[in-house]
């Protein structure tokens, strides 16, 4: 196991320390520690069922850690519920998008600013989302289910932006989408970061992750097995971490 010294950074926006988490009786995360600093894009890389989504959902409060702590902005959020965590400034764009299919595009977005902190900035945020994704403004009165896959993903990202987040968690935003659409989505991700929002992203596509991220963590069977600056990641190292020949 190789770890660099970044774990000890004191200016962390998100600090996960020694977290165990369970799905029922199945332990999905083992002693996971991870740090995200303000302004970073951090990628979480791992194969299917390695615990990526579990970690994302543990940060969001959908699952509570059985052991360890999750601190955000210096505050322990390990026991909070999802709606409270959204209010503090963490917004998840979930795998499978989970938009509201029978509601209009604009209603989906408006619901993104349901929490009291974000409500006063609703109109301003809506404008910002429409700047990122002009197609959503064109289709604002359509039911969300009538959008294409890529547009639905844009809607999910836009909805996540509506809650005025400091940190956004992206879970498999390019899954099942064409390369051209993926390119467009990641352009938006970079724009979002440029506006000062910190990003933790989960992505099956390793090359894409390393291209977009500043740092990467590799997770395998619920353990963090590697954490590095993305640019320094050797393909061989990742392949080993992925396929089990641990260095």
């Amino acid at each position: 196991m190789e770890k660099d010294s970044q774990e000890t950074f004191s200016d962390a926006l998100l600090r996960i320390s020694n977290v165990d988490a369970f799905y029922g009786t199945f332990q999905a995360l083992w002693d996971v520690s991870l740090v995200v600093k303000p302004g970073e894009i951090v990628a979480l890389i791992g194969s299917n069922a390695s615990g990526k989504s579990t970690l994302i959902n543990t940060i969001s409060g959908v699952i509570h850690p059985a052991r360890g702590t999750i601190e955000f902005d210096g505050r322990d959020i390990s026991t909070l519920d999802p709606f409270q965590i959204v209010t503090l400034g963490i917004s998840q764009v979930p795998e499978g998008r989970r938009i509201f299919p029978e509601m209009t595009v604009s209603d989906n977005l408006i619901l993104g600013s349901y929490n009291r902190q974000a409500r006063p900035n609703r109109d301003q945020n809506l404008k910002r989302v429409y700047e990122h994704f002009p197609i959503l403004e064109e289709r604002k009165n359509q039911l969300a289910k009538t959008l294409s896959g890529g547009e639905q993903q844009m809607l999910a990202i836009g909805r996540g932006l509506m809650s005025d987040p400091k940190l956004m968690l992206f879970d498999e935003i390019s899954l099942g989408l064409a390369p051209k659409v993926t390119e467009e989505l990641y352009k938006a991700v970079r724009e979002i970061r440029a506006k000062g929002i910190t990003i933790l992203l989960v992505e099956q596509n390793v090359r894409r992750s390393l291209k977009e991220a500043d740092r990467a963590y590799i997770i395998k069977a619920g353990h963090i097995v590697l954490s590095k600056n993305a640019a320094e990641c050797q393909e061989e190292e990742i392949r080993q971490a992925y396929f089990g020949v641990c260095s």
Partner: protein, 290 residues
């Protein structure tokens, strides 16, 4: 078809539509709870009848007008619904899918027994001076209570529909019904939203109870039969859609009066269930369902 047959049909059609309004009014709360929380509230009919008894108690004790008594009944049922969901059902949902159903069944039995103890098993009714007798609608004369119930159903349906479509809380209720996890992740406190949904459903149930009590005599067990009818209404109309529930009520009311008109009263409930059966077979999501 000659004019005489058509003239003969106008009465069962008008009666069917108006009666369907009452059925819809009863079903709206059931539809909302079913649509949002996926809970089959088998106590719905009894909660509705209990509202009729509540109005009856106020009417007999202090001579309070039944519709006026809703100024107390609606907040009371709203609070009752909020408490049932927040303190009982939400915990039951944490246990298993069957637990809330069993609890609802328990509430049903408790309410029936309470009504028997307090008001005896004999039939009771609500009266108001303006609800007596008939009113002419041009072609035919209908009982005033039918017309009042229909108007109440229309108003409640439209208010609910606009609430769900326009208000922030209403949108949150709809969102939670479409994707609970998605709703949580945008910052909706689904526990609280569910409690409000149940509370609002109960408020409409209070209204339904009073108009039901003005229209028909009731006993402590009347709720059971009307739970079944309300189920038929939401099966026909489609789950969770307020407009669909309203149309479903009218379809069911018309089926009852028209089959009664052509074949005799003994046949009418058979046809009601037959049409529910046909809708389930041909369009299981209901006419307005998704």
């Amino acid at each position: 078809m000659n004019m005489e047959v058509l003239a003969g049909l106008s009465r069962p059609i008008i009666m069917g539509v108006l009666l369907g309004g009452l059925y819809a009014l009863i079903a709206l709360g059931l539809s909302m709870v079913f649509g949002v929380m996926k809970l089959i509230n088998v106590a719905h009919g009894d909660l509705m009848i209990f509202s009729a008894y509540f109005a009856y108690a106020l009417m007999t004790a202090w001579g309070i007008d039944p519709i006026l008594s809703l100024t107390m009944g609606i907040p009371l049922w709203f609070g009752l619904g909020f408490a049932i969901q927040k303190y009982v059902m939400s915990r039951a949902f944490g246990i298993s899918m069957e637990a809330p159903l069993i609890i609802a069944f328990g509430i049903s039995l408790i309410l029936q027994s309470l009504a028997q103890i307090i008001w005896s098993p004999y039939s009771r009714g609500l009266t108001a001076p303006y609800a007596l007798g008939g009113i002419s609608l041009g072609i035919t004369t209908v009982p005033r209570t039918y017309l009042l119930s229909f108007i109440a159903a229309l108003v409640v349906m439209l208010v609910l529909r606009e609430f769900l479509r326009r208000s922030y809380l209403g949108k949150a209720i709809v969102a939670a019904s479409q994707d609970k996890r998605g709703a949580e992740l945008v910052g909706i406190n689904t526990g609280r939203v569910y409690a409000f949904a149940f509370a609002i459903a109960m408020a409409t149930t209070a209204i339904a109870g009073v108009f039901f009590g003005l229209t028909f005599p009731f006993t402590p067990t009347s709720g059971v039969g009307f739970l079944v009818i309300a189920f038929g209404v939401i099966i026909i109309g489609g789950l969770g859609s307020m407009l669909g529930t309203f149309i479903g009520g009218i379809v069911l009311g018309l089926t009852q009066t028209l089959s009664g008109h052509f074949l005799g009263a003994a046949w009418q409930m058979l046809f009601v269930y037959l049409i529910v059966f046909v809708v389930l077979a041909v369009r299981p999501q209901g006419i307005f369902g998704r």
